[in-house]
Amino acid sequence: MIHADTKTVVYRSGFIRTLINRYSPDLISRAAALFDQSIYLLVAGWILMAIAGFAVLCRYSFTPGASAIATDAGRFASLGLPHAAGLPTLLMVVHPLCPCSTASMRELAMLAADCQDQMSIDVLFVQPKGLPGSIESTELWKAAEEIPGAHLIRDANGSAAAKIGAATSGQVYLFDADNRLQFSGGITSSRGHEGLSEGRSTLEALIHHKTPLVRETPVFGGPLQEAQ
């Protein structure tokens, strides 16, 4: 027996009813009967589709960007970035319009709040060719300005980032007071996702002179330059 509400919903649409009655008068009855018999299959199929959709989204979110090419103290020093003597320097390289780096910037702000006056912070804003507008008007620039003590550096055409091998927006380096590389990687657990991450935990440990579990983490962000 076909559920009354199934037919009622269909019958409310006069256009659909006219169409169906013209071409297949008993289509409503057959469709309603089929629906009644397979409702649980329908729900199960729907759940599987949703799971598949989330799997695709998760795959995107947890696929990191290109890893940075290994760099060293010499390359870093050649950049001439401002830093405080005797303190480690944290360098973050970002694309000014990368939405995924918003989470990285928030994590940097929280890290800066936790580790005040224990490190020098430089934020290198890559300005690729063809980027619309000024980078000072972007949300990322404004968020970086909010970080106490952070030095904001414009990197025209991304040459400085390329020099030290940074490829993905959100790349973070930590150099100790002797400009030795201590950490390279990202400080978010997935694209645009703030919260606890291996990168941030590692940086906190290093700044507080503890031994971290890892020294490299994946960087979840967009490419700094166009694909070649």
């Binding site: 949703a50 947890f62 919260g195 606890l196």
Partner: protein
């Protein structure tokens, strides 16, 4: 007699309470399903706006394209909607619908958290969603929602632990903390659902008991009304019987009076016949026959014979007087018998024609009543009649006659207290001019003992009487009869010994249909 109701949980009350509870739960479930289905649509739109606001474009150096989060918000959100919305339309209130909506909401919450960049504030809506799901008051839905979230955390925790907790190596306490917060929320929400259902059950039981009580009271009211109707019918029958008895008594009384007259006349005739001079005529005849051979000498010479012609002459005169006297008495006798016949015939015709409407001139009913009441009493009560020239109208002759007989009987009894020469009754039959509706008025006015002012209000009450041998039915039944005909019976009296006037007013009926309507 107190009306009683039984507020107890009988099996029928419990069954009805179960039905009411199911209906209530179904209505809540349907309402909640449609509310949450609509909320899903709102969240979908919100997710798209959130994605467009936070991450509209993705950049490759200087090149941009639509961010995957926008695509996910549109398409993955669209995947989550159709089944719950369809079920809310074609299967509202059913278990499969509620659980599907719960799954959709938890998945939508997960999507929104993702689109919101994992901000802690976006996680709050998980707990808000659980509270919304509790609206249906089905705690099982909360279990489904919790299972969805728990499965997501467990599966991703196994495959990609950093996706759940952000780090690869997770303390078991962190896992338990995540579980504990959801469990904490579930405990209170499930408890609230169960309490809500128990309250609904209490309401359903109370309503079922009230319905039962209402039916009990209604049944008792019907029984009492039926008893009252029966009692009223019995009372009316008794009143009618009393009225009939009064008429019968009146008939018997009048017949009795006439029989007195008949008896007297018959006695006179008998005595006259006994004492008739015919015996003397026989003696004279015998003497004539005895002296037949010398009749002429006997009649002229005999001492006794000479008396015979004068005797015969005197005898003829006496016999003539006897005849006249007896003729007179026989006529009176005949008249009385005729009157008895008329009284009995009138009563019989009225009995046959009870409740039959007839077209008749109103004054003739008064005359009939008069004949039934004052027959045999003519001459001892002065009568004045004022009869208007009225056309025939439709009247319940029996009822009107019953009332008039009663009024005339009372008037007759009232004036009996006066000396014979002062007894007077005035009868009026007239059209009532002062009302818009056409009405007839019958009035019986006497100069008898009157009615005390304090008794005027009670004169028509059942059982009230000022007569030593009265039973208080007559005027009460007369008033009822008047009311049944759409009229009314009224009385006026200036007090004791001031006489009384009884007035019967009736509407003039044009047709039998009008009669039925008025009845």
């Amino acid at each position: 007699m107190k009306l009683q109701s039984n507020l107890a949980l009988t099996p029928s009350v419990v069954a009805r309470a179960d039905t009411l509870l199911r209906e209530h739960q179904l209505s809540i479930a349907i309402r909640t399903d449609r509310l949450l289905a609509g909320l899903l649509e709102f969240e979908w739109g919100f997710g798209i706006i959130l994605a467009l606001w936070r991450s509209p474009l993705t950049w490759h150096g200087g090149l941009s394209s639509i961010h995957p989060h926008v695509i996910a918000a549109v398409f993955l959100g669209a995947v989550l909607l159709p089944v719950p919305i369809l079920l809310s339309l074609v299967r509202p209130g059913e278990s499969i619908t509620r659980h599907s909506i719960a799954i959709a909401h938890m998945l939508m919450s997960s999507l929104l958290i993702h689109l919101g960049g994992g901000q802690i504030e976006m996680h709050f809506q998980i707990f808000g969603t659980l509270a919304f799901l509790a609206f249906s008051r089905d705690w099982r839905v909360l279990i489904t929602a919790t299972i969805v979230t728990g499965t997501d955390h467990v599966v991703r925790g196994l495959i990609m632990p950093e996706s759940v907790f952000g780090v690869l190596h997770v303390s078991v306490w962190l896992t338990l903390e995540h579980v504990a917060w959801v469990t904490f929320d579930d405990i209170f929400l499930i408890g609230s659902c169960i309490r809500g259902v128990n309250e609904m059950r209490g309401i359903a039981e109370t309503r079922a008991m009230l319905e039962q009580s209402y039916r009990d009271v209604e049944r008792q009211v019907e029984e009492r009304t039926s008893e009252l109707k029966n009692a009223q019918e019995e009372l009316m029958k008794a009143a009618r019987t009393a009225g009939m008895a009064e008429i019968a008594t009146s008939v018997l009384h009048n017949v009795g009076n006439v029989l007195n007259s008949v008896n007297i006349s018959a006695t006179i005739v008998a005595d006259t016949l006994k004492q008739s001079e015919v015996a003397s005529l026989t003696k004279v005849s015998d003497m004539i026959v005895e002296h037949k051979p010398d009749l002429a000498r006997y009649l002229t010479a005999d001492e006794r014979g000479r008396l015979i012609p004068d005797f015969i002459t005197d005898l003829a005169g006496c016999l003539g007087e006897e005849q006249a006297s007896m003729l007179n008495e026989v006529q009176s006798l005949s008249k009385g018998i005729e009157h008895i016949k008329q009284i009995v015939a009138a009563q019989q015709s009225m009995a046959k024609k009870a409740h039959v409407l007839t077209r008749i001139k109103p004054f003739s009913i008064m005359e009939t009543a008069l004949s039934m009441q004052l027959m045999g009493q003519s001459g001892d009560i002065g009568l004045t009649k004022h009869y208007d020239e009225l056309d025939e109208c439709i009247i319940d002759q029996h009822k009107v006659l019953q009332v008039l007989i009663n009024l005339l009987s009372n008037a007759r009894q009232a004036v009996m207290a006066r000396p014979a020469s002062m007894r007077h009754i005035t009868l009026t039959v007239e059209r009532v001019e002062e009302s818009a509706e056409e009405r007839i008025r019958f009035r019986v006015k006497d100069n008898g003992m009157g009615i005390a002012r304090e008794n005027l209000a009670r004169i028509f009450s059942h059982g009230f009487t000022t007569k030593k041998e009265g039973h208080g039915f007559g005027l009460h039944s007369s008033a009822n009869a008047a009311a049944e005909m759409g009229g009314h019976l009224s009385v006026m009296s200036d007090g004791v010994d001031q006489g009384a006037t009884f007035t019967l007013e009736l509407p003039v009926l044009k047709s039998q249909e009008e009669t039925l309507c008025k009845a």
